[in-house]
Symmetry: C2
Subunit: 103 residues, 2 copies
């Protein structure tokens, strides 16, 4: 039992949430995705998804645009540069916890 003082780097609490992380994981791989699609991919309830999208949006990690698809409303989501950076850093930080080598 040595005294290494590893001191784990704190995990971004905005990303350390199952649903928000799933949302970011989807958005990082596509140009944009709409509410209904994200809901189906994550299996989240509409209410839960709505509040989590708000939080990501308030943090500037995603941007949300309200448009129309025909006559129906359509909520489009896109990841921002800030969101991309935060996600990348979260991944690197988490690797320390998961014992996955950096890179």
């Amino acid at each position: 039992m040595e005294e290494k003082q590893k001191t784990f780097k704190p995990l971004d609490p905005l990303l350390h949430s199952e649903l928000r992380l799933a949302v970011m994981s989807i958005l990082i791989g596509v140009v944009e995705a709409d509410f209904v699609y994200i809901k189906s991919q994550t299996g989240a309830t509409a209410g839960n998804l709505s509040v989590q999208l708000d939080k990501l949006s308030a943090a500037g990690y995603i941007e949300v645009e309200k448009t129309f698809k025909g006559k129906k409303t359509c909520t489009l989501c896109r990841i921002t540069g800030k969101g991309r950076d935060a996600f990348a850093e979260y991944v690197e930080t988490l690797k320390q916890y998961l014992q996955i080598p950096k890179g």
Copy 2:
């Protein structure tokens, strides 16, 4: 926007917690570690650490042994097989979210 239905696998809520994950991360790499060491490595308060160790212990992910170091009490923690398995599965599951290839 295809219909892939990725359906993210749920993350073990016991491990998806910053402090508990840090504890497991420490314990997976050593034979055993005591309360004071884990506390110093994680920077957690004693109270917080105490309850999180209880939860991990109640889940059978770690075992806790109360011993003495001289006259002082000493709480030793070890990861169990079940804990090791759960941690490994958590890591694999998380890779889906983090876009890290499996393995």
